[in-house]
C-alpha cells in the first residue's frame, strides 16, 4: 500500500487485477478481495510547503477535513494509485504515519522509532528528494475510500527556510469486484498489502 521502489514503478492499466492482502482494508474491501481495473485517468496535483529550520508540519493525504489534501477517493469503486515526487527542499525529511501518531515504517527494537526531535532517531525511515525525485517518483501509495488517513510529517533539517514541492501523480482507477470463482483463476495481479502487514 505504501512502498518505496528503487525505480519508478509502472501504473495500473485497464484489465489489470489487484488483490488486497494482509488485513481487511475497509467494510467493503476485505482481505484477499480481488478487483479488475476497468478505466484509468491520470491527474497531476502539486503542493508546496515552506518551513523554517528545525520546524515541522503535517500533511493529511485523506479527504476527511477541509485542510486535508483530498488524495483519497470518495467512491467505493475507485482506487487511487499515487506516485509521489519531490523537488527542492534538499534538507527536508518526510516521515509517514498511518493513522496519525503511528509510524508506517520502523525497526523492531522498541526504542528505535523515528523522532525528528532526537538526532539519533531523526534519520530512521525518512524519505527525501533523493529517494523519490520530482521527475522519477519512486514512492507509491494506494488509497481507497474510508481508509485511515496517511499523514506526512515534514521536518526541515537544514539551517535556512526551505521549500519542498510535492508532485502527486494520481492514477484514478475505476475497479469492479471479481467474483471468488473467477479470482481463483487469475494468476497475475498486483498485490496491495495493508499497511499493518509488516508493522
Amino acid at each position: 500500500m505504501i512502498k518505496l521502489f528503487t525505480e519508478t514503478p509502472s501504473l495500473l492499466q485497464p484489465r489489470h487485477y489487484v488483490k488486497f492482502t494482509g488485513k481487511d482494508f475497509t467494510d467493503y474491501i476485505r482481505e484477499n478481495d480481488m478487483f479488475r481495473i476497468v478505466r484509468t485517468q491520470q491527474i497531476i496535483y502539486e503542493q508546496a510547503i515552506i518551513l523554517p529550520p528545525s520546524d515541522f508540519t503535517q500533511l493529511d493525504l485523506s479527504s476527511e477535513t477541509a485542510t486535508s489534501l483530498g488524495l483519497y477517493p470518495t467512491s467505493i469503486e475507485t482506487l487511487y494509485e499515487i506516485l509521489v515526487g519531490l523537488k527542492g527542499g534538499k534538507d527536508m525529511l518526510i516521515y509517514i504515519q498511518v493513522p496519525a501518531g503511528k509510524f508506517f515504517a520502523r525497526l523492531e527494537k522498541p526504542e528505535l522509532f523515528p523522532n525528528p526531535a532526537v538526532p539519533q532517531l531523526r534519520y530512521i525511515s525518512t524519505i527525501d528528494v533523493d529517494a523519490t525525485p520530482y521527475k522519477e517518483p519512486k514512492l507509491r501509495i494506494h488509497t481507497v475510500k474510508d481508509l485511515e488517513p496517511i499523514i506526512f510529517i515534514v521536518y526541515n533539517d537544514g539551517s535556512d527556510y526551505e521549500k519542498l514541492v510535492f508532485r502527486f501523480l494520481v492514477n484514478k482507477c475505476k475497479m469492479t469486484r471479481v467474483p471468488p470463482e473467477e479470482a481463483d483463476r487469475v494468476d497475475v495481479y498486483r498485490e496491495i498489502e495493508h499497511y499493518e502487514a509488516l508493522r
Binding site: A48, D55, F56, G88, Y161, K163, V165
Partner: protein, 110 residues
C-alpha cells in the same frame, strides 16, 4: 533564462514572483551605479511560511539573500549560477533612491 532591470529605491521593488510549485534561481546579478554616491543593494526573498508546529499562524517574512555595496560610478557583476534560491517574491531594496543606479537580475525557475 529571464531578466529584469529595476532602479535603486528605498521601497522594495519586485524583481520577479516565483510560481508556488517552483523555486527561483538567481543566475546573474549586475549593478551599474552612476549616482554621485555609493549605494547598498539588498536582495530580499518575501514569502509566507506554511503553518507549522512551531508557528501555527505564520506572518509574512522577508529573508535577506544578498547585500552588495557599489561605489559611485562603479559596476558590479556576479555570476551566481543559481546558488541563491528565491522561494516567494524576489525584491530589490537600496539604502538610497537612485534612478541612475540600475540593478539587473537574471533568473530561472526550477
Amino acid at each position: 533564462m529571464a531578466s529584469v532591470v529595476v532602479s535603486a529605491n528605498t521601497t522594495p521593488q519586485t524583481a520577479f514572483t516565483v510560481p508556488p510549485n517552483k523555486i527561483g534561481k538567481i543566475k546573474l546579478l549586475e549593478i551599474d551605479n552612476q549616482e554621485a554616491s555609493a549605494i547598498t543593494i539588498t536582495l530580499l526573498d518575501a514569502f509566507i511560511p506554511t503553518p507549522s508546529i512551531g508557528n501555527p499562524t505564520p506572518a509574512p517574512v522577508a529573508v535577506t539573500r544578498k547585500v552588495v555595496t557599489v561605489p559611485s560610478g562603479g559596476y558590479y557583476t556576479e555570476k551566481l549560477d543559481g546558488y541563491i534560491e528565491i522561494l516567494g517574491v524576489c525584491q530589490v531594496v537600496a539604502n538610497a533612491v537612485g534612478v541612475n543606479c540600475r540593478i539587473t537580475v537574471c533568473y530561472d525557475f526550477e
